[in-house]
Symmetry: C2
Subunit: 342 residues, 2 copies
DNA sequence: CCTATGTCCGTAAACGATTTAGAAATGGAT
DNA sequence: ATCCATTTCTAAATCGTTTACGGACATAGG
């Protein structure tokens, strides 16, 4: 059942039917109701392909997920992010198109999505320091929102980010207040922008107390996984002067650190303190009612929701000034931290 | 730059240009090359919206992800699954459209995708026992492939599944050979079809040795998470006759079980044995070179690849007989199993 | 020489909606 | 009765491709 057929059944022109269904004012309310009733009765759904061609809009946004083909690993936060953004798209009649591409092909993917008219805008995931995609997207004129930021990008652009620096700074201050001086960092890969900011948060806090970071306790694991966290903690605990506290960039790393601690017969929270960054992932809850890990918490799902809303705004008002949204992580107290052992 | 403009520049009709670019035979090879060169030079990309309307194909497949709105949790295997399927779509020029919907709205979502012409087919995720979606999709005539199966569906349909029953049967036999008799099951929610099959695998193995399952050791957790695994193991270990082995449906549950074991000062693999189902997720590796957990392993990413290929085949040949692909899990030996303590 | 067969290319009509321009009907005001 | 504005609707163009059909030309066969 298409528009023409429906119009024929009603004895109206396709134009009027279209206008009636889309809420245009120049149609009698009586006919509008008649049209809507008939549309419902005949189960009419406008053909999305035709709408897209006629309006010149794709009614779709793209999420391009870079796949690090060395580790073949997709960022685990991604599932939660799209859970948040997906609902916004649905409510506004937009489709979400996912492209998973090796990271070196990402820029070309944006170009294709754009020039073939498959999307009206994109979300940029996992920005690196000095990420070239930002300049490229600006040049192409494709609306975009970055989840995170890119240090060194001289242009202004739309982003939604959590205050990674402040989060790790506060976490480090908390550990310092507990007397910890040998604080190990179990970071993500430091080509990623968020990792650099988290590291800066730690060094800021140390510097504020006149301490210099011990580079032998700064780990940046290739993957933010349990095993990599475990390995880093093994090293940090076997130093001549072992770490008394760990600051981890992810829950999984934190679990690996805990395993290393307990593997040595030590107790987390008593002998060694651990703070993690908790993205509040649905499938990796930090405890149920009472949190296991002390953590800086910020919901990545919420970030997804905000980024999607921002992108739809940017699409509908293309010459709007760049939008920014900074989220603050909350520091929540769990059972994994305590005063430094005497 | 569109087709008409490109044709004008070449002094040809749009028809000829279209045919040249799409490899139709009725065009001189010399002109074809001229056209291809010009298309490349002017950076011409055919408008996807127009192609879709003209051909009547969506050139897109849908993945409808049910969101259990009680737990607000997306299945964590999903990210790996689409990593596998995504590449197949890309190679064949298909888009992947993701819809994340509360599970009660899922059927309506399929209907919308279909009648508005947004997709040529869908992948059905997370089938339940007696899943009504299968009948609904058959009735609608929308091509689909199920990741998993649905016990009780009287119709035949396309599916890609792992042999869950055999996997858990073999795992249980292995534990029985090691002398274990009190084997706890830490299963997923048993409205899910795969969970029922895994349970059947265990009870099969027990029955083959004349044993009856101890219902007080059969857990079906609402979520397959670390905390739920931990809680189940706490119960299983505090029985009058505690479990000596655990059969877990996921890696995360296994990690929770390990935590419960170690929290009691016991050692996994010596005091208590654990076998997990390992979906070979990219962000949850079971060890690096040598596996931590003894596991039944089957790559969900591979399943995604196979399901995508099957779906594209079904789309291109709609009256093909239903296709099935059964994957066998391999039983890999880790450090989490050993003979039952005396 | 005429016709049949191929080869190569163009014309025009789809595809199914939106949207522009304009016509017909209606209602008041003069 | 005339004029103008407003309301309501229609016809036709448009979006950028694909594709059914047909024409021109060359070559081969009779």
């Amino acid at each position: 059942m298409n528009l023409k057929e429906l119009a024929a059944k009603l004895g109206l022109s396709p134009t009027t039917v279209s206008r009636a269904l889309n809420g245009y004012p120049e149609v009698n309310e009586a006919t509008r109701e008649r049209v809507i009733a008939a549309a419902r009765r005949h189960n009419y759904r406008p053909n999305a392909r035709a709408i897209r061609l006629a309006t010149g809009r794709a009614l779709a946004v793209g999420h391009v997920i870079p796949l690090n083909h060395r580790s073949e690993m997709m960022n685990p936060i991604f599932a939660d992010f799209i859970t948040g953004s997906g609902e916004t798209y649905m409510r506004n009649g937009y489709d979400m198109i996912l492209s998973i591409v090796p990271d070196e092909a990402e820029e070309q993917t944006y170009r294709d999505l754009m020039s073939r008219g498959s999307v009206d805008g994109v979300i940029v995931h996992a920005p690196k320091v000095n990420d070239p995609r930002i300049r490229a997207l600006k040049d192409m004129g494709l609306p975009f929102v970055v989840h995170g930021r890119s240090t060194g990008a001289e242009l202004d652009y739309n982003w939604v980010d959590v205050n990674n620096r402040r989060a790790f700074q506060r976490a480090a201050e908390f550990l310092l207040d507990l007397g910890h001086r040998r604080i190990a960092l179990v970071n993500g890969n430091e080509v990623m922008d968020f990792a650099v900011r988290r590291r800066a948060g730690l060094t800021d806090a140390l510097a504020a107390r006149g301490l210099v970071p011990d580079l032998s306790l700064m780990f940046a694991t290739q993957e933010m996984s349990e095993t990599h966290g475990h390995r880093a903690a093994e090293e940090g605990l076997s130093r001549a002067e072992p770490a008394t506290a760990f600051l981890c960039a992810s829950m999984l790393q934190g679990m690996g650190v805990r395993r290393a601690i307990e593997g040595r017969g030590l107790k987390m929270g008593r002998d060694v303190s651990v703070i993690i960054f908790d993205d509040d992932l649905s499938y990796l809850r930090n405890g149920e009612d009472v949190p296991i890990f002390t953590a800086t918490r910020s919901s990545v799902k919420e970030a997804g929701r905000l980024a999607a809303e921002m992108l739809l705004n940017v699409i509908s008002q293309p010459d709007m000034a760049p939008q920014h949204r900074m989220l603050e992580a909350e520091l929540i107290l769990g059972q994994s931290t305590g005063p430094v052992p005497a």
